[in-house]
Amino acid sequence: MARSVTTQRKTINTVLAWAVGLLIFFPILWTILTSFKTEAQAINDPPIWFFFDWTLENYSVVQERSNYMKFLWNSVIIAGGSTVLGVIIAIPAAWSMAFVPSKRTKDILLWMLSTKMLPAVGVLYPIYLLFIKLGLLDSRFGLVIVLMLINLPIIVWMLYTYFREIPGEILEAARMDGATLKEEIIYVLTPMAIPGIASTLLLNVILAWNEAFWTLNLTAANAAPLTAFIASYSSPEGLFYAKLSAASVMAIAPILIMGWFSQKQLVRGLTFGAVK
């Protein structure tokens, strides 16, 4: 008796949850479907759901016309470069705060977090001016630096929360056995912290990949990543739905896949350990 009730409830839950889930996912699904249609089918009224002539033409057209590979490469360099650089700078800082805490550690962590809250428009002109003066405008290097600085607080925080879970006794044992500080970090800490470091990399690549304030305002033709590539579709190309969809799918696919692997880290990384 009790079991049949649960099965019934479970069925209702399942139907309801799937309906809501598909509704939320629908814009992405629709974009993916549209990217395989011809332009005429894409704006057909009534909309065609599945029974259209599936074609890959839009993908090759977008590729040829707008040099998609260049934007993709810029995104990879900017998101990857800023994250890797940030992690390299953050590991020693997070290590020292996690294993040699002082009275001020908490204040420093909170202060770092507060720099993340600085509204970008408030410092837009100074950064813009500095970029012009230093010749960094529209350069990948400049964006790597800016995005690294933006995400550095989150990177330090995430690494700090992961490092804190590593028992300090293991490090002490290594020290007793005569490991130097450098050896301790490279051979003892890093292997244990690899899952945490990997999660940190993953989430911050996603954040940097999708960053759309600095990437739009500090780039033009040379260093523009995929965010700017899509923004250029605003008009009039945006009215070619099939091509817009193909371009969109190519811009979000890599990160969508990475994102699905990072669900758990997302909560931890974006709430700074306040919700676990």
């Binding site: 889930g21 814009p27 705060m97 720099t115 809250m117 002109y125 813009y128 969109s248 669900q263």
Partner: protein
């Protein structure tokens, strides 16, 4: 335990991160403050001298200021209400036993990973376009006149787009919080005959209050700064100019740096007030 040597090593290892962030914070901040007290028009004569607080006064007395405050409040408030209410409901739903829970979770979270320019453009063209958009087809199907979403209902449209982007975030955090709820407590309440609504009101909601506060604070900080969604859809037209978009226009479009910087200082102060509340909660969790 920690020797003096390891302490100084630790301080040394912290230095790069601290110095970089300090520079990133102070240099632009001081420059913004400096410009905010100047009449500075790069395209019309450059630096025209000190003007005291004139920019601060002019920023808040300009005709665009109060509408932009109103727009900001509507967008931030609207998105917060929608994402929190739907987020709580979704989190409770996703916490129930069901088949394919993992896949549903993935479907719900997906919008968060879509870059802002893509979601803005897909919504703008493929859904809200008054001629070929999916909504227009839907409206015509029911015999209604299609709506010019981004011009006639620009604010609700933007709230909808941004809510779609942030609902996954709220849901995911609230779901994580719900999963830490002691299920025995709920079962006991159920045995005692407490109806579902009362269980929700007296057990689940109080348990979620901290997570909700965190979602509100973090989202507010990000929502105050939304840029790409407005940039791509309306470009600030049709009453969608938020405070930060207004500052962006003053700085980069009309190149009135003094005025824009004064606006920037207001934005920084506002963000800091919000950040202080967030820090207090996060800080408590550190001990």
């Amino acid at each position: 335990m920690a020797t003096a040597q390891s302490r100084s090593a630790a301080r040394l290892m912290m230095t790069p991160a601290v110095v970089l962030l300090l520079g990133w914070m102070l240099v632009p901040l001081i420059m913004t403050l400096y410009f905010s007290f100047k009449r500075y028009l790069p395209l019309r004569g450059g630096d025209l001298g000190w003007v005291g607080f004139e920019n601060y006064v002019r920023f808040v007395t300009s005709s665009a200021f109060w509408p932009s405050v109103q727009t900001t409040l509507i967008i931030v408030g609207g998105v917060l209400v929608i994402t929190i209410c739907l987020g709580v409901l979704l989190a409770i739903l996703l916490d129930q036993p069901m088949w394919g829970q993992g896949i549903v979770r993935i479907l719900v979270i997906a919008p968060f990973f879509v870059m802002p320019t893509v979601s803005a453009l897909v919504w703008k063209n493929m859904f809200m376009d008054p001629i070929n958009g999916l909504f227009a087809h839907l409206w015509k199907f029911f015999g209604a006149e299609p709506i010019q979403w981004l011009s006639q209902a620009s604010l609700p449209s933007l709230v909808m787009i941004v809510s779609w982007q942030w609902l996954p975030f709220a849901t995911l955090i609230l779901l994580t919080a719900i999963q830490s709820l002691d299920s025995e407590q709920l079962e006991a309440a159920e045995m005692d005959g407490a109806p579902a609504l009362k269980r929700f009101w007296y057990i689940i909601l109080p348990h979620l209050s901290r997570a909700i506060t965190i979602v509100v604070l973090i989202q507010t900080i990000f929502l105050l700064a939304i840029f790409a969604e407005i940039f791509v859809t309306t470009g600030g037209a049709f009453g969608t100019k938020t405070l930060s978009y207004l500052i962006f226009q003053r700085v980069l479009e009309s190149q009135n740096i003094g005025l824009g910087s004064a606006g920037g200082v207001y934005a920084i102060i506002l963000a800091n007030i919000l950040a202080m509340f967030l820090m207090r909660i996060v800080g408590k969790n550190l001990d």
